[in-house]
Amino acid sequence: MNESIALGGAPGISTSETRTASRVNLPFEFRGNGGEYFRIWIVNLLLTIVTLGIYSAWAKVRRLRYFYGNTYLDGHSFEFHGRPLAILKGRLIVFGAYLVFVFASQLNPLIVFVMIPLAIFGVPWIILKSRLFQTRMSSYRNIRFNFHGTYGGALSAFVGWYLLVVITIGILYPAWVKKRVEYSLDNAAYGTQKWSFLTTTGRFYTFCLITFGLSAAAYFGFIFLFMGLFSGLKNAGTYGAGAELAMLAAMGPGLWLSVLVAAAVALAIGGYYQASFLNASFGGVQIGGNYLRSNLQIAPLVWIYVTNLLGIVFTLGLFYPWAKVRQTRYQLENMAVDSDGNLSSFMADASPKTSALGEEAGDFFDVDFGL
């Protein structure tokens, strides 16, 4: 059961006898597969349609249980405990509120302005509730995760810091990104053991600035490239119609090539940001004597994003389950726990239950919390 320890052990340490004294590297593992998840996905989608959406709550629980249950660390899997009825209740409330909003805004378009303060103060609440639900409904080795964040903390991290970013015309943006991640991770807990988020603000600044610099360089690079192409065309024009046509013909493939190169560069920069962001976020988590490690690489990540997108588009969505499994597998299998070898000593926290409303609200309105 502990084969992963022997495989991933630090140099010179390969037996479990030395675990308490030495550090071990425990990689995450994902055991799901696309074909299996495809069948689960499509059957649940059909059931959802046939039941006019009511079954979607059950479908969601089965999906999350499949992904949690196939995520392994040190030979043990994770588990999702969300209750379909609680999720359904949350969905119905959110759906009702949404309908009221749609009709109200049709009756009086000015109601949108009333919604703005509601959204500003409501979103942090939704984020808090969503985090509570996600953590408390997850377990590992029959110990639930927990969340100790407050409403004030969410308001400060998501709204207050956003205002600071606006005031400083973006200079504080990387710090804001960090604050949001910190709110989610630093307030989390595994049983009674609180998590700490160790990544420095400087690391967020570094990859944000590199991304910004690369984007600016690429932007101006392509402007010069296109200007060069077009001035070439102009010069050719002076030599008569024949030369112009020849130039156009030569430029045709050149234009396509430069569009492709531009897309590739944009994807590479996006991949760099995404990989750096995830590595900085998850790689900064400390849980007692254990440290999360995240080592995503740009090229494989971009390759997975691109091929997944193409696969989904060309199969009209049927590739989705494989895409989801591929991405999950890559991300998990490049994460590990640098452990003190003592994963058996965590204690359960007797916490109250939480409602599914917050998580569903976030889900329904497709709010992206950045993590």
């Binding site: 299996e36 959802t48 999906r63 590992y140 029959n142 989705y320």
Partner: protein
């Protein structure tokens, strides 16, 4: 005997153990320092999904976890006879583990969702609109005309007498309807909206000077007004609103599970919305033609004004072939346009400013005389393809 691991619910330490479901309905866990036993009916057994570990949860928070899903199912089957246990979740797993069920599900998803979106949603919206009182229509878009007056319209340049004449014409059309709507005609200088007419759900029909100028007879204006009345009478704004809400709700339900591709598929509701909008236009056209027949007005006047409008909008030839994306049906399907460019339209307006308005078919004065002499080319930008501020014109 089922092999697995036992967690006491207090610490993260696993204990290798075996579990036994007895014929008496008692569950016993062996291999622990202290033996654990509980009635099967007091335990919670997680549903089988793929090959993930099965959890048998005890009331005190302890869990027995095993990968031997088949053994758990077999033991539950055996125990079912004894304790009469109801355990229906196995059905979903049975469906999920078969490829032919999955393929049939693909077909089912495609057929059902397409059929429901095309026929089900409009039918439900129609029913719901019938249930709602006419006061709903008053409320929808009550501020629209004020906004348009500020943003797009100028007061009409038609002589007051002509305006009153048109209002009388409209009142004569709407007086016998008695369907709970307060019909009222408003004439405006359409400005950048050009030759246009549209209906507000409350019963206000707005017609632009440019449309009056484009028409060659009051019968043509009657035809257009009948079309707009058809929108009001059919409560198309309310039904459109209900359908849009329905489509959004269904798309969310379908794709809520698939949020990452919802962006790609979000074009589908827009296409459906356009289709429903075209259906409303056809319905209003049918109402207009029926009204013309019943009131002994030549149907050809409707064709004539539609063709002239479509010509005035500019001959976007390509667009007419792709009515799948359009909110209005292709004019060729709505009216039979015999002469592509109505030569008569090119006649210069006879009535100079100040002329006494009459029933004459000649267009009245307009803010922009260029439109009268040739509504075809110079006014293309002023007559956008989709000028309506509410999706109804």
């Amino acid at each position: 005997m089922i092999q697995g691991r036992y967690f006491d619910g207090r610490s993260s330490a696993p204990v290798e153990a075996t579990l036994e479901i007895g014929a008496d309905g008692m569950v016993r866990v062996h291999g622990l320092p202290e033996p654990v036993a509980a009635p099967l009916l007091d335990l919670e057994i997680s549903d089988r999904i793929g090959n993930i570990a099965r959890r048998i949860s005890f009331a005190d928070g302890a869990v027995f976890e095993t990968h031997d899903n088949d053994a758990v199912d077999a033991a539950l089957d055996a125990a079912r006879d004894v304790v009469g246990l109801r355990h229906g979740s196995g059905l979903v797993h049975w469906l999920e583990s078969r490829w032919h069920v999955a393929l049939a599900s693909v077909a089912g998803v495609v057929v059902i969702s397409a059929a429901f979106l095309i026929w089900g949603v409009p039918a439900i919206a129609n029913w719901a609109a019938g249930v709602m009182p006419a006061s709903m229509d008053q409320a929808i878009g009550s501020g629209t005309l004020d906004v348009l007056d500020r943003v797009a319209f100028e007061p009409s340049n038609l002589p007051k007498a002509r305006q009153r004449e048109l209002e009388t014409l409209f009142t004569r059309m709407t007086a016998p309807l008695d369907d709970g709507h307060d019909y009222e005609l408003e004439v405006r200088d359409g400005g950048s909206l050009g030759a246009n007419a549209f209906a507000l759900p409350s019963g206000i029909v707005v017609m632009t000077d440019q449309l009056v100028a484009l028409s060659k007879s009051d019968d043509e204006l009657r035809a257009v007004l009948a079309h707009e009345i058809g929108h009001v009478r059919g409560r198309h704004a309310l039904r459109h609103l209900l359908q849009a809400a329905g489509i959004t709700a269904i798309a969310t339900a379908l794709l809520g599970d698939v949020s990452s591709i919802s962006g790609i598929l979000s074009a589908a509701p827009a296409l459906l919305d356009a289709k429903n909008s075209r259906d409303f236009e056809t319905e209003a056209d049918n109402f207009a033609r029926q009204w013309l027949q019943e009131n002994h007005v030549a149907e050809s006047s409707f064709d004539a004004i539609l063709c002239r409008l479509s010509h005035a909008e500019g001959s976007e030839a390509g667009k007419k072939d792709f009515d799948f994306f359009s909110t209005h049906p292709a004019t060729g399907k709505r009216a039979s346009c015999k002469a592509p460019a109505d030569a008569a339209v090119a006649e210069p307006a006879e009535a100079p400013a100040g002329a006494e308005p009459s029933e004459s078919p000649a267009p009245e004065e307009s803010a922009d005389p260029a439109e009268l002499t040739d509504p075809g080319e110079p006014t293309q930008q002023q007559l956008p393809a989709e000028p309506e501020p509410v999706p109804i014109s």
